[in-house]
Amino acid sequence: MSSFRELLFGKKSAEDAKSRLQFVLIHDRAEISPGLFEEIRNDIIMAISNRLNIDPSYISINMDEESGERRLLVDVPLKNSRRPTATRSTNN
């Protein structure tokens, strides 16, 4: 129902509030600040790229929370693995 409105007027502010809160609370609850998270991310990239040929710009590392259980989700596509390059083409 609201998708047409959203096209016309953009996302409603309550939805921004909700998604921003959900993001920040995952970090607050895990006591991992976005800055520390960035350092962990860099450590992981460094550790893997020492051994494997990877493209750091494809790596996704996210915090997730489901029914009170927090996890760190790391997705590292390996280079030359014929992975679809949709992300790259939309980024460029």
Binding site: S2, K12, A14, E15, A17, K18, L21
Partner: protein, 261 residues
């Protein structure tokens, strides 16, 4: 007497803790309960002025703790609402004047005589908050539908659980159903989803609150307005009545929400 001690807190300041405490306490007394509302905001007391009892304070809780009066002497009766009493905070001291264990002992002394003891917590999560929740059987967290309040509430809910006082219950205060409808304000449903806690009250933004506070007359005393009704409903839920949780001035969708909570 089977007494219940409820601490009302929020983390963030200015969300309506004191107004809520005054109105729920008054509403409980109007239901025929014997009620004390205790101000734990030492140094920044306001329950007295919100209730219109500021001219009647002789002794306060710190006077009792330090042995200058009996607890009974520090209680001020509010005759407008049956058996309602205010236990004021000291205004010229700070949060260190009462230790958590002293608070527990003081409140325990009231348990024999009263059905409900409501404690108005100071803002923040430091010693004043710790002292305010120490005697609590239940904790209510007041939230405004905006990001800083919800984030702080999440922190407080975690601390309440860490102190084995959980699960905290929520009151969403100052909600504007028109703005929620336009998706320009977080809904009660959004807030329960983000915080995964139970909501026991939804209080609308209501102009009447300011004028009643100006006069020192809690709205539940004589108003038929929507905020007054919301406070009365919360009091009835606290005493165990089953009152459907309704979004002020909207329909049955909110009752479904309560069924799920």
């Amino acid at each position: 007497m089977d007494s219940v001690v409820i601490t009302i807190t929020s983390g963030k300041g200015g969300v309506g803790k004191t107004t809520t405490t005054a109105n729920i306490g008054t509403a409980l007394a109007l239901l025929g309960k014997k009620v004390v509302i205790a101000d734990a905001d030492i140094g920044l007391r306001n329950l007295d002025i919100v209730l219109g009892l500021e001219n009647r304070i002789v002794y306060d809780s710190v006077d009792f703790i330090e042995g200058r009066c009996k607890l009974r002497q520090a209680l001020i009766r509010d005759k407008r609402a049956g058996e309602l009493y205010l236990l004021p905070a000291a205004q010229t001291r700070d949060k260190t004047a009462i230790k958590p264990q002293q608070m527990v002992d003081m409140i325990n002394e009231l348990r024999d005589e009263f059905h409900y003891i409501l404690i108005d917590s100071p803002a923040g999560i430091e010693q004043g908050f710790q002292t305010a929740i120490a005697p609590a059987d239940r904790v209510i967290v007041i939230i405004n539908p905006e990001v800083s309040s919800v984030r702080d509430a999440d922190r407080v809910i975690g601390l309440v659980e860490a102190h084995q006082k959980g699960p905290a219950m929520l009151i969403v205060n100052r909600i504007d159903s028109a703005r929620v409808k336009k998706k320009d304000m977080l809904s009660v449903e959004d807030i329960t989803e983000i915080l995964s806690s139970q909501v026991i009250g939804i209080v609308p933004e209501d102009e009447e609150i300011l004028s009643s506070t100006n006069r020192g007359q809690p709205v539940v005393l004589n108003s038929k307005g929507s905020a007054a009704q919301a406070y009365r409903d919360i009091a009835r839920r606290i005493v165990g009545e089953s009152v459907p949780l309704t979004m002020p001035s909207t329909g049955s969708f909110w009752q479904k929400l309560f069924g799920r909570a």
